[in-house]
Amino acid sequence: MLERRAFLKTLGGVWVLFVFDEGARPQESGGHGHHWNSEELPQNVSAWLHIAPSGSITAFTGKVEVGQNIRTSLTQAVADELRCAPASVQLVMGDTALTPFDMGTFGSRTTPTMAPILRKMASTAREMLVEEAAKQWSTDRGSLTVGDGCVRNRASGKTVGFGELAAGIDWPRMIGKDDWITPATKWSVAGTSVPKINARNFVTGEHKYSSDHKLPGMLYGRVFRPPSFGARLVSADTTAAARMPGVTVVRDGDFIGVAARDEHIAEKAVAAIAAKWEEKPQISNAELFSQLKSNAVPLQSAAQSANTSLKSTYTIAYIAHTPLEPRAAVAQWNNGKLTVWTGTQRPFGVRTDLATAFQLPETQIRVLMPDTGSAYGGKHSGECAVEAARLAKGAGKPVKLIWTREEEFTWAYFRPAGVIEVGSAVTQDGTLAAWEFHNYLSGPSGLETPYAVPNPSVHFHPVDSPLREGSYRGLAATANHFARESHMDELAAAIGMDPLAFRLKNLTNPRIRAVLEAATDRFGWHNVKPSSERGFGLACGTEKGGYVACCAEISLTSSRRIRIERVVEAWECGAIVNPEHLKNQVEGAIVMGIGGALFEAIDFADGRILNARLSKYRVPRFSDAPKIEVVLIDRKDLPSAGAGETPIVGIAPAIANAIYSATGKRIRSMPILPSFQV
């Protein structure tokens, strides 16, 4: 906790320290570190908030900023409760030495869980400040108001600053209470489009990402990689590399890497290493889907008299997150203590990874996460941090390691591929009569159907993944919505019913109905006329407390080349915290979703990624971005849910359904290529 003590000294006042030490101690013992949940988070205000004698306000969260703009939204929450401007709140994020433990920034959990905690702590602090002012002035607290970092006596007009009041409060005993949290209907800072905090640092290049961090005497690292997944090192000759000026070769088991005085020499040194590997045969993507289905459950016959029944199979390719900033870490050892700056969604998890790798207690390790060049669920793991620390340990100097794009494509992890089989039946009046849904490998998120149907049978079947798989924005909700919403369209077509009317007939959930109606109204669904050159499709769904409906308009040329012309998406996630940033998330999710819908797919064989470069793996560019209209529904009566993920789930089925409306050809694969050109 030395770091926190030193840090707070720079803010002024150290009263937080004692409480934080007591409150935080259990998190420091390895046994508890991984298993904390929200009930076990520190309840003392001072673990989360500090008001210096100068009046400056600092809040602390283990959540991290990767472009989703939670630095802004959480600052809004604190500023709201303390009735001050967002600019007067500094937010310390994702620093294992300064912030309370956090599992990680994933699952759209920041807005529904972290914002309420910070609101609880800040509102408790506010009430204590008012109480202190009332005591100092011997007046009734009802006559006092809070604003601009001060408590004001309405009658006398006297004001006293937070800093001055804070000094008189026994913060170490202060436990956060839920009693004074401001309801959304009374928000003043939240609910408005506060611009991105520190945006200026991003447009000037001043912001230091992990990959920009530099320490005195720092070396540049590079790792010698195996030729294929699972390859075993037989022998390696590193003498030529070790002879290069200023190069340290670091070997640790199968790990071989170099640290050099610049990145150019490091690259040459790694290229000079010769090794023999024992490789093992592995499947290619050509065999993938048959392998995933090798133990498939036969679909029950959904056919009943007077019903129309359907069976369809959908496939989803592996895709890569491709964060523009690849994994990067700067590691520094100092008297047996390790400090690592790295871009990760789980700074505390990476600390555990480092503790395990180096047999160190977690108290000896500090992981800091500077605001990072995106993640999309792809930066949960800490391998780059461990490698940088290994190199720094071996070289005896700080080391920076930035993964190359090829490494990021190959040695990170992928959104899992999958096969989804759907069987269904519908009556002639459009009532869903049977629903059976089997997902192989891709995952259980968004598996349940929101449509009313008797005895739905939905199953996720875990299957061994030939490639390393992990989280991705929206997880399998994208795949499951693609299959479900495509299949709903197939059913509507089978009985000759309008896709919107068919969905509304089978939907009871009022929040999905509301977004579906909002999106189709704005889109003009009732007036569209598909032709062989124009197609229109829609999809809707819900996941992680968010409700989405998406309409897409596509154009086709005779060469079967498609273009997404226009997308309208309606989105509802409870009370809106920052309308502009929310729109930005929804638009970004649509653009990212277009990549997975149209052309992104990992090509692999023999344990190698065959398209591990941006020149071979296409991601959406300016020309791929359609006109996008976002319709936001603000439900101040409902708690805010996260919005970084679920807005991605509607676009792929909406596009596939639009293609069907124009061509009569049903798309059952993500991506759509090569069935159509894009």
């Binding site: 989703q68 991003f202 530099k214 060049g373 995106s374 649509i590």
Partner: protein
Amino acid sequence: MDLVVNGTRSRVAVDPERPLLWVLRNELDLTGAKYGCGEGQCGACTVLIDGIPHRSCITSVGAAAGKEITTIEGLADGSRLHPLQEAFIECDAMQCGYCTPGMILSSAALLRKNPAPSEPEIKEALEGNLCRCGTYNKIVAAVQKATHRMSAEAKERHHA
């Protein structure tokens, strides 16, 4: 060799084949230009050389020696931001911000060549710059906003 970066001349003793990106970042501590792909595909490393956008990850430092190099750190006029920088902030034209320096420099080069670009012209000029967060439409809006502001300022200067 001599490098002229943002109006300042520096002498660097480096292998002339080394990519300009890494010399800027690791020798001159100008980290605004980012590594994204190493093959000129993403535009995160964009810098201006004699006013023309270049992918510094595939430009050898030797080829840039003696020429006027502009990085994002040199775009503002002291503490006064370039209109593109202001517009990117005002239009919320970023999420993680990693592509932003490259986007702004590519846009600055466009506006120097074409002070009133159409939307298709903006998109075409920026096609080589990737934003994985998908803020493309907001970036186009920001460039348009900066264009309007710059042309209004130019008119004012003309009348003054």
